[in-house]
């Protein structure tokens, strides 16, 4: 009896590992910036090259920092959600326009709506590297003190928003985070 229990035991352990492992996304790179200060930056805005935007604009309030580009197809999937969020004033959203062309970016916002208080124009992607950006879109949740509390890679689905991002934002806004 014991002889049959040992291979069964090993098999069950293997099943347990597979049950957990197969749900994980091997391509996802966890950010080492979580719970660290967001990298400081100073960039011209997309709309007005003479105006600049920096990390200090994201502080004072819990905000979302959304990395987007007019050439990014997946960004279109989450854009309606972002526009709705900004319309309902749930959380201020700032954009990082990553390696884009100014005219294309502005046309994209005109066509699809502009949820951003302001978008930073990161033409060579150096600020993106500082934030550990490796794909577009990515969204960071930054708290009042400029600490990165969460990073979401890929477009934000309604489930992602409801189940993950909104609770984090509400906690931070109530100073519970």
């Amino acid at each position: 009896m014991v002889r049959y229990l040992l291979p069964l035991g090993i098999f069950l352990v293997l099943v347990a590992f597979l049950a957990v492992g197969l749900k994980l996304n091997p391509r996802e790179v966890p950010s080492p910036l979580i719970n660290k200060s967001a990298p400081a930056f100073e960039l011209p805005t997309v709309r007005d090259p003479d105006r600049s935007i920096g990390l200090s604009d994201l502080k004072r309030e819990v905000s979302l920092f959304n990395v987007w580009a007019s050439w990014c197809v997946s960004c279109r999937h989450e854009h309606p959600l972002l526009v709705e969020l900004s319309r309902r004033r749930i959380v201020p959203i700032y954009g990082l326009n990553y390696k884009d062309n100014r005219a294309d970016a502005m046309r994209w916002l005109d066509n699809l709506g502009n949820p951003y208080r302001a978008s930073a124009f990161d033409s060579d992607g150096r600020v993106g590297i500082d934030w550990g950006v490796y794909g577009v879109p990515e969204t960071f949740v930054v708290d009042r003190n400029g600490i990165i509390r969460h990073k979401h890679t890929g477009p934000i689905s309604t489930e992602d928003w409801k189940n993950t991002l909104l609770p984090i934002i509400r906690d931070l806004q109530a100073d519970r985070g």
């Binding site: 790179v29 080492p32 590297i129 490796y134």
Partner: protein, 158 residues
């Protein structure tokens, strides 16, 4: 013929060893150039995650190669460049995983499993080889043995 085949196979295999640097770089200092080549071979492309920065055509790889080049030119040490990357992208950006408590199983797991397997195998072999030595037959059993041998002898003759 076999020699020719071996040479051809080795030539094809050597393609993987050649430095696939995409952009030509102007280095005055050969030491800097070898540092650059080594660094971009040791850093992973986060987009094509099975390639290092030297081999990848991804935009991000190009940007990170530029970053590495600029930092070498600015006089940063290898450690400073590596920690720049790790601070932003985490340990995964290192193509060779560092030896830490969290990567212990990754490094030594296969070796440990192999040793475990060898130990189990040895125990099983030993167990099979331990047989009690055959006892001598009693007088009665020797009579029975003679009868059996006599019977088989008769059958084979007929």
């Amino acid at each position: 013929m076999r020699l020719l085949l071996t040479v051809i196979v080795l030539l094809i295999a050597s393609v993987g060893l050649q430095a696939g640097v995409v952009e030509p770089r102007g280095f005055d200092d050969p030491a800097e150039e070898s540092r650059y080549r080594r660094l971009i071979a040791e850093l992973r492309c986060l987009v094509c995650q099975n390639q290092n920065l030297a081999d990848s055509n991804a935009d991000l790889a190009k940007d990170l190669r530029n970053q590495t080049y600029d930092m070498i030119k600015a006089g940063k040490t290898d450690e400073e460049i590596v920690s720049f990357m790790v601070n932003r992208y985490g340990d995964f950006v290192l193509y060779r995983p560092p030896l830490k408590s969290t990567t212990f199983l990754l490094w030594f797991g296969p070796l440990i499993l192999m040793i475990l397997g060898a130990v189990v195998l040895l125990i099983q072999i030993r167990r099979r080889n331990i047989r009690p030595p055959p006892k001598a037959l009693s007088a009665e059993e020797q009579e029975q043995l003679k009868d059996i041998l006599a019977d088989t002898g008769e059958d084979s003759r007929s």
